[in-house]
C-alpha cells in the first residue's frame, strides 16, 4: 500500500513507551477535560468509555531484558483510508484537512457502531449508559466540551476544546487562521514523565518533528496503511515488532487492556 506523507502542519502525538509508567494520569486528565462521566456500575474494560487507555503489553519472556511495557492508546487519527470515516452512514466522522484531526460529531451519530467494528485500534467507545455524575460534581465539568448522551460513539479528538480555545486566542493576537496554533492536549499536560509529546512537525513543538523521524519511532499496524498520526518511541526491538504485529504473543492473556 502506498504510504502518504503526513503534512508537517498537521498535529502529531509522539508517545515514548519507554517512559510510560502506567500511572494512568493521562486517562484521568482526559476524562476530566472531555467530560467523560465516571464508570457506570456495570461498566467493564470493554464497555467503558476511555478515550485514552493505557494497556500493559508483556513480552512473553522473549523481550530484550524488558519484560513488559505500557502503551497509552488514544485514537490514532488515521491520515489515510481512515476506516471510521469510510463506514459511517451518517457522515458523523470527518477528517479536518487543516489539522489532520479525525472528528466525531456526536450530534450526527446514530449509534450503529460500524466505526467501532472498522477501527483496527479499538479506540472508539459506545455510550451504553447516559452520563451521570454524583450530585454537585456536574458543576466541575469543563465548559468547553459538551457531554454526550447514551447511544452515540465517541473517541479522542486531540482535545478539540483546547484546540478551539487556542485558535480563538491566536486570532485575538492577529495570527492567520491557516497557521497551526500551539496547544497541548490534557494527556500530554498531565503526563508526569513527559512521555507524551504533541505538536506539528513544522513548528517542532516539544521536538516532535525530530522524534517522528528517529530510528526508534514506530506506528501501530503500519501494514494496514492507515498512516496514524500517533507515533510511538521505544528502543526495545520486541516492542516495535509487537506493535507491527510481526511477532506473535506467546499466549492470549499477555496483552492486558
Amino acid at each position: 500500500m502506498k504510504s502518504i506523507e503526513i503534512s508537517p502542519s498537521q498535529y502529531v502525538m509522539v508517545i515514548d513507551a519507554d517512559r510510560c509508567t502506567g500511572c494512568g494520569a493521562c486517562m484521568v486528565a482526559c476524562a476530566i477535560e472531555n467530560n467523560v462521566a465516571p464508570a457506570h456500575p456495570d461498566a467493564t474494560d470493554r464497555t467503558g468509555v476511555t478515550w485514552m487507555k493505557v494497556v500493559k503489553v508483556s513480552s512473553g519472556n522473549n523481550g530484550d531484558g524488558k519484560p513488559a511495557c505500557y502503551l497509552p492508546l488514544p485514537c490514532q487519527q488515521c491520515a489515510a483510508e481512515t476506516p471510521c470515516v469510510t463506514v459511517c452512514p451518517q457522515n458523523a466522522v470527518e477528517v479536518d484537512q487543516q489539522t489532520g484531526i479525525v472528528f466525531q460529531m456526536s450530534q450526527r451519530c446514530l449509534g450503529c457502531r460500524y466505526c467501532m467494528a472498522a477501527c483496527p485500534y479499538h479506540a472508539r467507545y459506545f455510550n451504553w449508559w447516559d452520563p451521570e455524575w454524583p450530585e454537585g460534581m456536574e458543576q466541575t465539568l469543563n465548559p468547553d466540551v459538551a457531554p454526550r448522551m447514551r447511544g452515540v460513539v465517541e473517541k479522542c479528538n486531540f482535545c478539540h476544546g483546547r484546540y478551539q480555545a487556542a485558535r480563538a486566542s491566536a486570532a485575538e493576537h492577529g495570527q492567520a487562521s491557516s497557521d497551526p496554533v500551539t496547544y497541548e492536549p490534557a494527556c500530554a499536560q498531565a503526563c508526569p514523565t513527559r512521555a507524551i509529546k504533541f505538536g506539528t512537525p513544522a513548528n517542532n513543538e516539544q521536538g516532535v518533528g525530530d522524534l517522528v523521524h528517529s530510528s526508534s519511532a514506530f506506528r501501530l499496524l503500519p501494514r494496514l496503511g492507515t498512516e496514524p498520526r500517533v507515533y510511538y518511541l521505544s528502543k526495545h526491538k520486541w516492542i516495535r515488532q509487537m506493535a507491527q504485529m510481526e511477532k506473535e504473543t506467546s499466549t492470549g492473556e499477555e496483552v492486558h487492556g
Binding site: R19, D130, G257
Partner: protein
Amino acid sequence: MSSALSRRNILKLAGGSALGFLLSPMPWKMLDDISIWTQNWSWIPKLRRGPVTHKYTSCTLCPNACRVNARMISETPVSLWGAPDPCVGHSYLCSVGLAGHHLAYHPSRVRNAHRFTATENGISSEQLSVEDAIAHIAKILHNIHVRPEEGEFALFDCRPHGMVSDIQQIFLSHVLGARYIVPDHHEGRFMRALMEMTEDPGQSYGLDFSRTRTLLSFGVSLFEGWGISPLVVEQFRSRREEFNIIQIDHHQSSSSIVADTHIAIKPGTEMALALGLAHVIVGERLYDPASAARAVDLKRNKPFSFMDLTRRFPPGRVASVTGIPEDVIVRTAREFASNRPATAIADDFAPAELIHSVWILNHLVGATGKNGSVVQKRPLPQPWKGAHRTPPTRLRNVPDHSLRLLMIDASAADTTVSWPDLRRKMRAENATIVLCSPYRPKRGESVDYLIPIHAPYETVRANPSGEYVATSAFQISTPLWSKSEEGCETWQILQRVVSASDAMTKEEFAQLEPEELLRLQCDAIFNSKRGTIHHPNNDETIPLGSVLSSGDFYATLMEGAAWSDDGVATSTNGRLFLMGKSTSSAQRFAESVLAFDNAGIDSNPSFPLLVVPVGEDVAARFGHVSPILSKIYQESDLKPRSRFAYLHHETARRFKLAAEQRVIIHSPHGATEAIVRCDSSVRPDTVQLSVSQLDAISPTRPRIINSYGGRVYTDQPIFVRIERARS
C-alpha cells in the same frame, strides 16, 4: 376522458408520496434533529459559564504537598494541574490529585452529624446536629473525667504530620488522662530509621537524587503514589539516561517494568539480599573509604560484629534463599558500589530489619550525608517549640479494651485504618467511637458518631513538605471555593468537645481560628529569616529576607507561594553506626537477622504456594478518591483486580487449573475464593493475591501504605494451596 378517482389512483398517490418523502431531505433532517434533541435531554448536565481564572494552591491529599494550578469558572474549579514546585522540583499531579476537586462531591460525602446504633436488622443511622453530637460526646468525656475507671479518652491521628498534629498534641496535654494515638507505621519511617545509625543530633535527613546515578529500590513504588515517588519521577523525567534504576520486587510491578533492571525476588527474603550485597561490597573492598572510616563498627566485634553478621550471607547462600542467581547478586553489588552516587531505598512499611540493612548499604557506598544522595536538612521552624505535648502512642502499644471514647481524625484522604485493631482497643461495653470525616463510613467501619469535617480544598490548611524532600518547605492550601459549606476541622471539634465537658485544665488554643494558627506558623518561619519564596504567578524566587513583614509573608503564601528552606552544609565527619547507635538497637537488629538466618522461609508440603501480596484498587476500596478514578480501576485492566488469583502457567498446569476457573485458596488460617488468571510474569510456585483477599487467609492483618502506589506488606509469609471450587 374519465376523471373518476379509482382505488388504484389513491394507492398510487399514497405510494408515490411515501417514496417521495423518503427521497426528500425531510427524513434525514428529522434524524439529524432527533439526534440533536437527544443531546439535550434535561438530564444531560448543563455546563457552567463564566470568566476563566486560575488559582494557585497546594494539594493536601498526601504529605507531598504538590503545587496546584486550578482552572476556575465562576469561582468553581473545573480542573487541577500541577504547577512548578521549587521544593520537589516537579510540576505534575498524580491521578488522584488531578481529580482532587471532585472530592467535595464524593457520593459518600456527608453534611450532617450522624449517630449509628446497632439493631437487630443491622446498623441504623440517625441524623442530628453537630452541636447535639458534640453535647453527647462531651457528656461521655465528662463521665470519663469523673470516673476514670470507666476507661480512657484518646484521639487517633490517622496522619500525624505538621502543624495540626502539633496542636492536637499540645491541646491533649491539657486534657486529663487523654491519649494521642498514631498508626503503627506512617510516612517517614524509613528516613527516621537513619537517626538510629548516625550521630548528628538535631538534624533530620532528606533525599536528594539530583546527582544520583544508581537507585537501588527494595520494592518501593517509584512512580505511583506518594513518599519517595515524586522525587524519583522528577529525575526520571529530567535525566533519564543517567539515572539507573534497579528494582528489587517480588512481582512485576509498574516500577519493575519501567526500571532498567528488575530483580525478581522471593517474597520476604529482601533482607537476605541486602546483607548479601553488603557481603560482596565488604568482601571485594568496594566500599567508600571515607564512609568506612566513619563507620565505627565496621570492623569492631563488640558487642555485635557486623562482619560476623554479613559473613553469614555469602552470594551462593543468598542465591538459594532469594531465588536470585549468584552472578546477578555479585553483579548488582558491584554496579551499586561502583556507579556512584548511589542510593538504596525501602518502603516505610518494610520490616525494620530490612530498612536497617538498606541503610547499611547506603553507609557502605558513602551515600549518607552526601549531596546528591542522603542530605541533612533543618526541621520546619516551630511556633510552639517548648510547649508541653502528649507523647504519641502507637496503636499496637495501646492496651486492649482500655478506651472508652475514641475520636478519629480521618481528614487525610489516604486513611487506611485497621478497624478490627481499633475495635480491639475499645472497652467491651459502652465504648464510643467518633469518626471526624467528610465521608460516610465504609462497610466494616463501625462507628457510633460521625461528625462531618471539611473536604480537601474547602478550607485553609497548613501544608508542610513531606519527609523525603531535601529541604523543609511550607505552603498554605487555600480553599478553592470562596464560600465553603458549614464545617470545621477535627481539632476544632476536639476543642469544643473538651470545652463542653469541663475536662480541660487550661484554655490554651481554645479561641484560636485556623487562620490565626497559620499566622503563628508564618511568624515562626519569618523570624527564622531563612529560605526563599517561590511565586508561581511569575515563576520568581525571592529570599525571605526581602519580605518586609510577617503579614506580607502570610499574604504571599495565601496567594499560592511556597517557602523552602536553605540547604544545609552537610557534615561528612559524623560517625556512622552500621549495627545501630544504641546497644539495644544493635541487639534487636542482630537478633532479627539471626532469627531469619535460623528459620528462613520454608513452605509446608500441605501449603506449597507462597502468596505474593499486591495492592490492587486499594485507594478506591479503602480510601476516598474521585469516582473518575474508575477509568483506571474499573474500565481498564491496568491494576490487578481484587477477585483474581494470578499464577504462572506452569504452576496452573501443575495444579491442574485453567484460566478463568473458580478456585478456593486455603491457608492454615482460613480460605477465600478467587478466579484463576495465568500470567507469565508471576514467579512459579507463588500466587499473586490482592490485599482484600488476604484478610481471610492471613494470620495477621496486612499493612497497606501509599494506597495509591498499592504496596502491601504482611508480617510473615503466607503459604497456601489451591483447589478447584465445586460448582
